[in-house]
């Protein structure tokens, strides 16, 4: 990790402390009685089938396309969907995360069968050992440009949020931010176990990581539907900078069992 | 029940008939109504313009005038709002007067709130066959929480056809000195309010604050709109009189 630093801290904080009636800045955590969302909101519960249903409903309400596939046939279904997407959106190249679940689903084979090339977001961390940022940049740049040349991005969200229709992507080696950002079409697939009810639960998923400054993800991206803007005369337009077409696939059997 | 009337300088000067309607109704509902002569003004014009010292002295005189009263009732949501919302703040550095201010605030009521919550009356048996729309004053709504009381009273007026005012919660543009200081902005606001009133095709516009009503009435009149503008107390008194006339209970 690069070295951090602070400049101008002491005078700045001292001035604030003085305005608040303190001779020195407070360095002990103050006591609080109100933290986070109202209790009734945090106490809500939903079973898995309901979570999946709600996530799908919210994702679709925002213009996203959602699918629920049974565990047993997940690879087949995902392959079929990818083939349809490749055909419909004329995908030549797809960028994807390095992720065991994507490998298990046979994403590369499915894409190849449909006639699309896969760009793996593979950046070897060890290749960066002993290099400066300047030295590492050309390889990084090549990968970014490769993703830029793709029409489809394939990712595996860490969590999805039912309340809002959101997928959560933590950045990391092999899990580039660009994959869910640069191509015009986004395809996200995750197991139903990772759908939670509310935003706070999604944060809980990362709580341990955030407590340890060494382990914190550099970026956590919450994506709630396709990119949009109404800046031009209040007229809604989809796909301004981020992907305009977004697919979410939830793998699991709860939704089918409850029918 | 002993009630003191806080008539407000605006009603006193510009629309005394509103005060008359309030007094008549309260007395007929069983209240003994007095009028402390020392009263003048709540001070909001000075306060809202930033003249705290001037407002404080005017407020002090008002507090004194109503010290002996049990209940204080006023036909103005904004004046009552001034007392309840700003008087404790105005006297924040004078503990004795702050307490007096709080006492006054606790016993002062806007007319419709007094009827509904203190007297527990919503149906006066009034008859008023007309198409009526209602403009809620900002201060009554937001400082006093007056939202349903006038509507509860209007609901029970026989023959009254209520039509909801579009954008009713938008300010009419009066704002006291605002109408004079920022005349162009105020004009834009009152024109939109008048347009909404006319769109209801109501015969009558009713409200709880004469500042708002004179403002809107003034614009409607300039537009030649022919809408009658009444304070709630006036409408109710007229409605009661009408019912009694219809029932042959001779009251001139």
């Amino acid at each position: 990790m690069t070295a951090g630093a602070q400049y101008g801290r002491d005078d700045f904080l001292r001035r604030i402390a003085a305005r608040l009636g303190r001779s020195r800045p407070l360095d002990r955590e103050p006591v609080r009685d109100v933290v986070g969302v109202p209790e009734y909101f945090a106490r809500r519960r939903a079973d898995r089938a309901e979570l999946v249903r709600r996530f799908v409903g919210n994702w679709e309400a925002l213009g996203g396309k959602a699918f629920v596939v049974p565990t047993a046939t997940a690879a087949e279904e995902v392959g079929r969907l990818l083939a349809e997407i490749v055909a419909e959106h004329r995908i030549c190249r797809a960028a994807r995360w390095v992720h065991p679940e994507l490998e298990r689903l046979g994403v590369d084979a499915a894409l190849a069968k449909a006639g699309a090339e896969t760009v793996l977001w593979a950046f070897d961390p060890s290749a960066e050992e002993g290099t400066t940022a300047d030295e590492a940049y050309p390889a990084r740049r090549r990968l970014i440009e490769a993703a830029e040349s793709c029409e489809l991005g394939v990712v595996c969200p860490d969590v999805a949020i039912a309340d809002t229709g959101t997928i959560v992507l933590a950045a990391g080696p092999g899990r580039g931010r660009s994959v869910s950002l640069l191509p015009g079409v986004l395809f996200a697939v995750l197991p139903e176990e990772r759908v939670v009810l509310r935003l706070g639960e999604a944060f809980e998923h990362f709580r341990a990581a955030y407590a340890d400054s060494e382990k914190r993800p550099s970026s956590l991206n919450l994506i709630t539907g396709p990119s949009r803007s109404s800046d031009i005369e209040n007229d809604l337009t989809i796909g301004v900078h981020g992907p305009g077409v977004v697919y979410a696939v939830v793998v699991g059997d709860s939704a089918f069992r409850s029918e | 029940m002993n009630v003191s009337l806080f008539v407000t300088c605006m009603v006193d000067m510009m629309t005394p008939e509103v005060g008359v309607s309030v007094v008549r109704l309260l007395r007929r509902l069983g209240c003994r109504v007095d009028f402390p002569q020392a009263q003048v003004c709540c001070g909001q014009a000075a306060f809202n313009s930033g003249y705290e010292d001037d407002a404080r002295e005017v407020a002090r005189a008002l507090i004194r005038a109503f010290e002996p009263s049990d209940w204080v009732v006023s036909p103005s949501g904004s004046c009552v709002g001034m007392i309840k919302h700003h008087y404790p703040y105005l006297f924040r550095d004078e503990p004795i007067w702050k307490e007096k201010a709080e006492h006054l605030a606790a016993k002062t009521y806007e007319f419709s709130q007094f009827l509904v919550h203190v007297l527990g009356v919503t149906d006066l048996g009034a008859v008023f066959p007309a198409r009526v729309t209602y403009h809620p004053s900002c201060h009554a709504m937001r400082l006093l929480g007056v939202r349903d009381e006038p509507l509860e009273l209007l609901r029970r007026v026989r023959g009254l056809e209520y039509v909801e005012l579009l954008r009713k919660e938008d300010c009419c543009g009066f704002g006291g000195t605002f109408a004079v200081k920022m005349a162009d902005m105020s004009e834009a606001m009152v024109c939109e309010k008048a347009r909404c009133v006319r769109e209801t095709k109501a015969d009558v516009l009713v409200g709880t604050d004469m500042g708002c009503l004179l403002n809107i009435a003034g614009r409607l009149d300039r537009e030649g709109a022919g809408v009658r503008v009444l304070h709630l107390a006036q409408l109710l008194e007229e409605g009661v009189t009408r019912r009694e006339r219809e029932n042959g209970l001779g009251r001139v």
Partner: protein, 521 residues
Amino acid sequence: MSAKTGSGVYEGGTDLKQRAQAALADDQLRAAVALTTDRLRNGRLRAIEELGDWETWRERARAIRAHTIAHLDYYLGRFADEVERSGGVVHFCATAEEAVAVVLGIVREKSARVVAKSKSMVSEEIHLNEALEREGVAVIETDLGEYIIQLAGEKPSHLIIPAIHRNRQQIAELFSRVSGETFPPDTKALAGYARRRLREWFLKADIGLTGCNFGIAESGTITLVSNEGNARMVTTLPRTHIVVMGMERIVPTFADVEVMLNMLARSATGQKLTVYTSFITGPRRRGEADGPDELHVVVLDNGRSAQLGDPQFQEVLHCIRCAACLNVCPVYRHIGGHAYGSVYSGPIGAVLTPLLANDPASAGELAYASSLCGACYEACPVKIPLHDMLVYLRSRRVRMKLTPRGERIAFRLYRRAFTRAELYRAGVKATRLMLAPFARGGHIRRGPGPLAGWTKSRTLPTLPGKTFRERWKELENEPVEPLVLPASDVSTSGVPTAEGVPSSDASGAADRPDRSGRDGA
């Protein structure tokens, strides 16, 4: 020129009244502002209804912001420590000049030629773009609305939707002129051009510059919200990321940011969440191929600390920049954002601009651009009493003797007359006489002095022959016949049923709002 003070006030030599008049005469602007604010306002109402228990949430959000600001020395210190621990660099800047100098320093160190920005009000407040341009750096606004007004050479007219004053036709002409291509006034085509053009800039930019919606103290995390994806672009592709943030944009924990994000999205646009919500903690880690090599966080004071410890104004620092107050303000609705002549417009702008300005006398007229209707307070997700603060600003001007002499004298006379009933009565008689010549048929069509403003667009009734007090004697002696109340309830058609009729609570406390004391924390 305000670049020196960095107060966010635009120069121009016009005053509020002139700008307001210009805005009121601009029908296109008025229609655009009305359409936009109505849409956002209705969206907000639907979203808060969907959430339910809005007042509970509001009080929660207020409590979180109040606690944070009351302990800002701790939380800001913690935030900075965590940013440092995550590999970021924090630059504390007391003034706009210092902040600009820091950014220029980074630009020079990196030999940067292109800076791509996502929306940052603070960067406008410190006039950063002008400074960068003087340095020879290309500054690209990437928020679609900001991009449009940048090309047009204009300032934003709304906090959230900066270009609402421009229609499709004008934008098409603008893009056509700038690109050399011809564009139809079609949203998709125009947005498509912006997407293509800005994509080139995203990939070319040396530095990405953003604001910060919320800085999370427990982990040193920068929270960024956007709908288009440009904030993600400028924090992913360029090698350096600079955050410019007001020092008050802190929340203690992720649990708290869950509350604030719920409040922000719903209050601003009626969404549950914006399309993109990004949490950035430090620069990219080793082994990550995208993300910046360096993260710099510029924390700005620029007049904010002066509000701390002030019981009247400390709460202005609670603002989360949702613009809900703009969307419900009747004044903003009619005059739009430019009339305020400052980076921050609407009710929050009217309060913040004079407070942040180094010279308390500047921008003071903004405090009068309000009828004090209180809609702003009602809409504010963190319950900032903007309507009260406007009055406090006015009383500050009175104390500093900045109000017109004639007005001071008038209120002194008012005080004398309105504290003594006899003087008041005499005053009314005098006024009646004074206005008599202007009255025709019971109305005053054209009033003298200050009344001229009123009578320009409204009639005024003449003072009646007798005041209420003059009628009291007779009224008092009228015979009283008790009202015979009907036995049963009769409802008429159309009047909405009251929800939850309060019980006869003698004190009326049930309906009193909770603005009781000045306790800030």
